[in-house]
């Protein structure tokens, strides 16, 4: 029985060990590098049970900066995302208590091609992603509990499937009496899913507010708690990328990110549905 358990534990590792093909870059080869500059908007929502049972909904602006290195075999990247917007509840119009939420996300991801699940048109990669997210929420209607700050540190396992949609040759078409040409294009559609394998949070304690104002300690995080292996997070990204002749690219993305805290304290939960346009600048 013990042998069987060990076999079941090591079998997947063995399979991956066989199927993951790491391309040893030659000395002169450098993976293409891109600077990503993007903007968009997000339909977001959050709820902090410590202060309200209501969900706050908001339309937020998004701004993204990133550095990507990618080729068929490996891709990695740093990404910084900032979002800001006004959120309100669906309570009676006369009882609206809108607040502002600013969020910052830092992430690093690294993915490797799995040869066994890839072909000339399909590319499957797996890897991991680390994300640090911080929220700063302000809602004057909530009085002394009007400021909320929380941080999430998440380690994800990542899987990405990319379909090459490139048109390699010139195509001549005709619609009714109109003749037109479809020029060669390089483009790809990808979907990446990142479920958390470890999530930690740094967030207010039970009382939610601090007592620094009356102790003079100046430490607003006195009652904050760090909870390791707590909560849940998942994010996905559906991306269509078109590459231009000069190597630069335009990326259209739909990103979904959802997370919630765990443990015994009142939960915090938040999600973003992000629609984003990014410019990829190939660095020579």
């Amino acid at each position: 029985m013990q042998r069987l358990s060990l076999l079941l534990f090591f079998l997947p590792l063995q399979i991956f060990a066989q199927e993951i093909s790491f391309t040893e870059p030659d000395a002169k080869y450098v993976r293409p590098k891109y600077y990503e500059l993007g903007a968009g908007f997000s339909a977001s929502q959050f709820r902090d049970f410590a202060t309200s049972p209501l969900i706050y909904y908001g339309l937020t602006g998004q701004f993204v900066l990133g550095i990507l290195r990618k080729d068929e075999n490996v891709e990695s990247g740093f990404l910084f995302r900032f979002s800001s917007g006004v959120y309100a509840t669906e309570a009676d119009r006369k009882e609206q208590t809108p607040g502002v939420v600013n969020s910052a996300f830092f992430s690093y991801s690294r993915l490797y091609r799995i040869a066994g699940l890839s072909s000339s048109r399909w590319n499957t990669k797996i890897g991991g992603k680390i994300d640090l997210t911080g929220n700063f929420r302000q809602n004057q209607y909530l009085l002394n509990a009007g400021n909320g700050i929380e941080s999430f540190q998440t380690l994800f396992v990542s899987a990405k499937v990319t379909r090459d949609l490139s048109r390699e040759y010139l195509k001549r078409k005709k619609f009714l009496f109109i003749r037109y040409k479809l020029k060669p294009k390089k483009r790809e559609l990808s979907f990446q899913v990142n479920p958390a394998i470890m999530n930690s949070t740094f967030r207010n304690g039970y009382a939610y507010i601090d007592q620094a104002s009356v102790t003079g300690s100046g430490n607003a995080f006195e009652d904050y708690r760090f909870s390791a292996f707590s909560g849940f997070r998942i994010n996905t990204a559906l991306e269509l990328t078109r590459y231009l002749k000069n190597g630069n690219g335009i990326k259209y993305s739909y990103i979904w990110d959802a997370y919630k805290t765990g443990g015994e304290l009142p939960k915090f939960e938040m999600s973003h549905h992000i629609f984003q346009l990014s410019l990829l600048f190939r660095v020579k």
């Binding site: 709820r47 202060t51 209501l54 969900i55 309570a91 909530l142 002394n144 007592q211 959802a258």
Partner: protein, 337 residues
């Protein structure tokens, strides 16, 4: 293998387009249901209010008494009235319920006699051209023997420059009167800025603790409240005047200054308010707040019901009628000792 890959892609594409947090999150609890709102507020107070045991409040009995008054046909105004009355059972000026049409409140100053008449002071004690430095009204009284400083609210605008000017002006006096009667509180930052001018060294003035769990007596460890000296220091006798209208930051000031050797508190007990109030929301969007901290003096006494004066003194009608502020006269007597 390609077929499997395509199928996986189709499945995850489907998941992507259906990505929905409702799989992980609870539904929105927005509700105008009268009972739900009542129960929510009652539970929040039960688990978070800091003085339930100290004030010996039977919150379960209060639940039964007020829940019987709630029905689904009642108007918003009626529900607000019931909830506001229930909150006033906490007997705390830091407890409020707020909607677009009303704010419930507990009138702490009415627990004691009216003990302050500013017109009496301007007519019979202060010169017509009294000084105004920031939020402070001040000038010499009693033949320039004493400096009188009036602060009617902790506006958050107290500056060390204000205090340096005031204390330099009264440096040669026998003592100061800091009049906090009918001061309803405000910014606790002002408390520290004021006290910092009346101490020689970093001073431990009280202790504070936060609610840490749903039990009525679940609190964090006591955290010390320290004040460090700043600016011009005044170490002669200081009399702090208080009454039942001295609340929150006013009570913190009285509690802290009672620990200083050169300070005497004269007047009536303060209105309390030594807990820091939170803020929260009901399912119908109304906002509530109540205290979730306790502040104790260095001996461990809890003065949430009012910081007692060292010397009790209230205005006498006979004194007022002849232009005398009984409490200021008692303070002048104390400074003369």
């Amino acid at each position: 293998m390609m077929r499997i890959t395509k199928n996986i892609f189709v499945v995850i594409f489907f998941l992507a387009t259906c990505s929905c947090e409702s799989l992980f999150f609870e539904k929105d609890l927005v509700s105008g249901n009268r009972h739900e709102n009542f129960e929510y507020l009652w539970k929040q107070c039960n688990e978070r209010y800091a003085y339930m045991d100290y004030k010996q409040i039977n919150w379960d009995e209060i639940h039964d008494r007020y829940s019987a008054q709630v029905n689904e046909e009642m108007t918003d105004d009626s529900l607000f009235s019931v909830l506001g009355k229930m909150l006033n059972e906490l007997r705390d000026g830091h407890v409020n319920l707020k909607s677009y049409f009303n704010v419930s409140h507990y009138n702490i100053e009415q627990l004691g006699p009216d003990n302050f008449d500013f017109r009496l002071i301007t007519d019979h004690y202060l010169p017509k051209d009294y000084y105004v430095s920031g939020p402070f009204i001040h000038d010499f009284i009693s033949n320039n023997r004493v400096g009188y400083i009036r602060l009617n609210s902790f506006t958050g605008t107290v500056s060390h420059d204000n205090l340096d000017f005031i204390l330099r002006r009264y440096a040669s006096t026998q003592g100061l009167i800091l009049d906090l009667r009918e001061n309803g509180g405000g910014s606790s930052g002002d408390v520290f800025r004021i006290i910092s001018h009346f101490i020689r060294e970093k001073t431990h003035v009280y202790n504070s603790r936060l609610k840490s769990g749903p039990g009525h007596n679940e609190f964090t460890e006591l955290q010390p409240g320290y004040v460090s000296p700043a600016g011009l220091i005044y170490l002669k006798k200081v009399v702090v005047l208080t009454d039942r209208g001295t609340f929150s930051a006013g009570s913190f000031t009285a509690l802290a200054m009672k620990e200083l050797p050169n300070v005497v508190v004269i007047g009536d007990s303060t209105g309390g308010g030594l807990g820091v109030p939170n803020g929260g929301q009901l399912p119908n969007g109304w906002i509530y707040r109540f205290s979730i901290t306790q502040t104790l003096d260095l001996a461990g006494n809890n003065y949430e019901n009012g910081v007692p004066p060292d010397i009790y003194s209230v205005l006498k009608a006979t004194d007022v009628s002849r232009g005398v502020d009984t409490v200021i006269e008692r303070a002048l007597e104390e400074i003369s000792k």
